[in-house]
Point group: C2
Chain length 339, copies 2
């Protein structure tokens, strides 16, 4: 029985205290299959001829650990699911590794774990294996979570940035920058009172709906660190195409626009955690857009631009004032520890 | 081009600086397949009817980051391979996620990455995907690495602690406690000059050799945090058997024995990073032992005890002095941040 209210170094030591923490806080909620050192897994989709296994990993160090619209656990589950989904993979299984600073509240851990379990269940994914380590005070900042996801790419599906062709249409599923803006506001350094919430959401079901409606989708990316600008630059570079977007049609909440104006931030570089951009041949764009808009996480979907033959590797924006500007990648980022 | 000698927050920001760090330090060495957000993988062994996928994850926070016999990268690769191998899985792919403290030397990162790549290659495993995050000074301790491993369990193979039966023989592949003792000495708090080296090693090839020679192996565990004592207690509990070991035959280096005597430590609880314990029916014990001894990482293999019907769930040791004592699990551990 775990009686402690705070995590101590003993909880990381491999002994009875660690077992109590793991069993009560983690495995009681995640209910992983079996109790060996590894999960042992089967899924008939993996053995279909031509199916491929997708694997991705992400470490999460977001501060604050809990914020409007999510917490480090929700973001870890959603972020890893999204990395699988934008590649056309159906997410199957997640691992979760926790690095905990001595003194971390057990109640906080329980909330994070509950949030992960709920998000995984909604996405139809299982958290099948995990690990906990404890480090002394000052050797970490509260809690870090690393999730790894395994999924299956059905035969014949091959989303890749390199497949984008001039003329393809760029679509996003919703407003830009909500996550970055919400984190910034939640840090409390600014005396701003806002209703901003992170867009943190799992996009596996959305991607499946889009791919069913528009099987010709070329590529998708979730616009996390570095924002939409980083995702588009990476895609332009990989495909050797130019990308033009139109500022007038970029979906943006009034609160995010306002925050950016006050602080001199550019929403194109703000991180998102439930926002993807995809490219689709023009004839399939209406179907892709409609499939997105039919789902809550795509309700704010919009066509934002297209791939061009001119200026390969470059992203340009038609501004509100009728000018054009290059949307470059930042060297660093506007905000550290956004995810 | 990466010109910096130390990691800054900009290297975690999702922009050009991050891309430079990732491309030069990580992907140039790991050479993952493709440049999408996810690895896309195929292996014919995964589609054999009855094959199962094995998945395991571990976070590594060992201090010091480099120590005699290894570093955090080697231990991360070996530890995850071993968690797969002791379950009977053939390791296939690893992910690696790095949480880096601002100010970490780029040269240190390069050494850790080189060490991971070398160890993975020797084990026949590929590091296929990864992630880096940077946190400010004081928000982490140098470098944390989380690895996740995926492997395949061939059809019909089912190692599990619950399968151990009274009469089964316990075998370890080499001396106990080398890793814990080497880390303790490397921390330099003791004015001890020793030749101790961590036993850090990947045991995938060893397990395959043992399973070929002794297909009846019931279960195996790597004796990491909590040492041999934790591994045996866990196995005794899962199988509902007693376990008896004999102190006189436990393989132990003179230096480790000496260090334990000076410091009042018990080598049964010292962590290992290349040491496993397995249980095998008595008629297959000679073959399993010989298969281990034929390999360098099993050269010091020894039969150390057996499972019994008496005292289910308990581990007992016949001591050097002819007495018996219970080998319990510790509540915490003797040393924090051992892996």
């Amino acid at each position: 029985m775990l009686r402690d209210t705070h995590v101590t170094l003993a909880h990381g030591g491999g002994g009875q205290a660690m077992r109590d923490l793991i069993e009560e806080v983690f495995t009681a909620v995640f209910a992983p299959p079996g109790m060996e050192d590894q999960a042992r897994l089967e899924d008939p989709r993996l053995t279909v001829p031509g199916a491929r296994l997708a694997m991705t990993t992400d470490g999460f160090v977001v501060t604050p650990i809990e914020f409007p619209g999510g917490d480090i656990g929700k973001i870890a589950v959603c972020g890893t699911i999204n990395d699988l989904a934008v590649g056309g993979a159906e997410p199957l299984w997640l691992s979760a590794a926790f690095i905990i600073e001595e003194g971390c509240e057990v109640a906080l851990l329980r909330r994070v774990v509950a949030s992960m379990a709920a998000e995984a269940q909604a996405a139809g994914v299982r958290i099948v294996t995990g690990d906990t380590k404890v480090v002394g005070r000052g050797a970490a900042d509260g809690l870090f979570v690393t999730t790894t996801g395994v999924g299956v790419i059905p035969p014949g599906r091959d989303l890749a940035a390199g497949r984008i062709r001039p003329g393809d249409v760029a679509i996003v599923n919703g407003p830009l920058g909500d996550h970055g803006a919400a984190i910034l506001a939640a840090r409390g350094d600014l005396a701003l009172s806002t209703d901003l919430r992170s867009d943190c959401a799992a996009l596996g079901h959305l991607m499946e709906a889009v791919l069913a409606a528009a099987p010709g989708v070329r590529a998708a990316r979730d616009a996390t660190r570095g924002g939409l600008a980083a995702a588009l630059n990476e895609m332009a570079g990989a495909a050797g195409v130019g990308i033009e977007i139109d500022e007038a049609v970029l979906p943006l909440r009034a609160e995010v626009r306002g925050l950016c104006e006050i602080l001199g931030l550019d929403p194109l570089y703000l991180a998102n955690e439930g926002t993807l951009v995809l490219f689709v041949p023009p004839e399939e764009a209406p179907a892709a857009l409609a499939a997105m808009q039919a789902r809550p996480e795509g309700a704010g979907a919009a066509i934002i631009g297209r791939a061009t033959e001119t200026r390969p590797g470059r992203v340009e924006m038609q501004t509100l004032f009728g000018g054009r500007r290059i949307v470059d990648m930042l060297v660093g980022e506007q905000l550290p520890r956004i995810c």
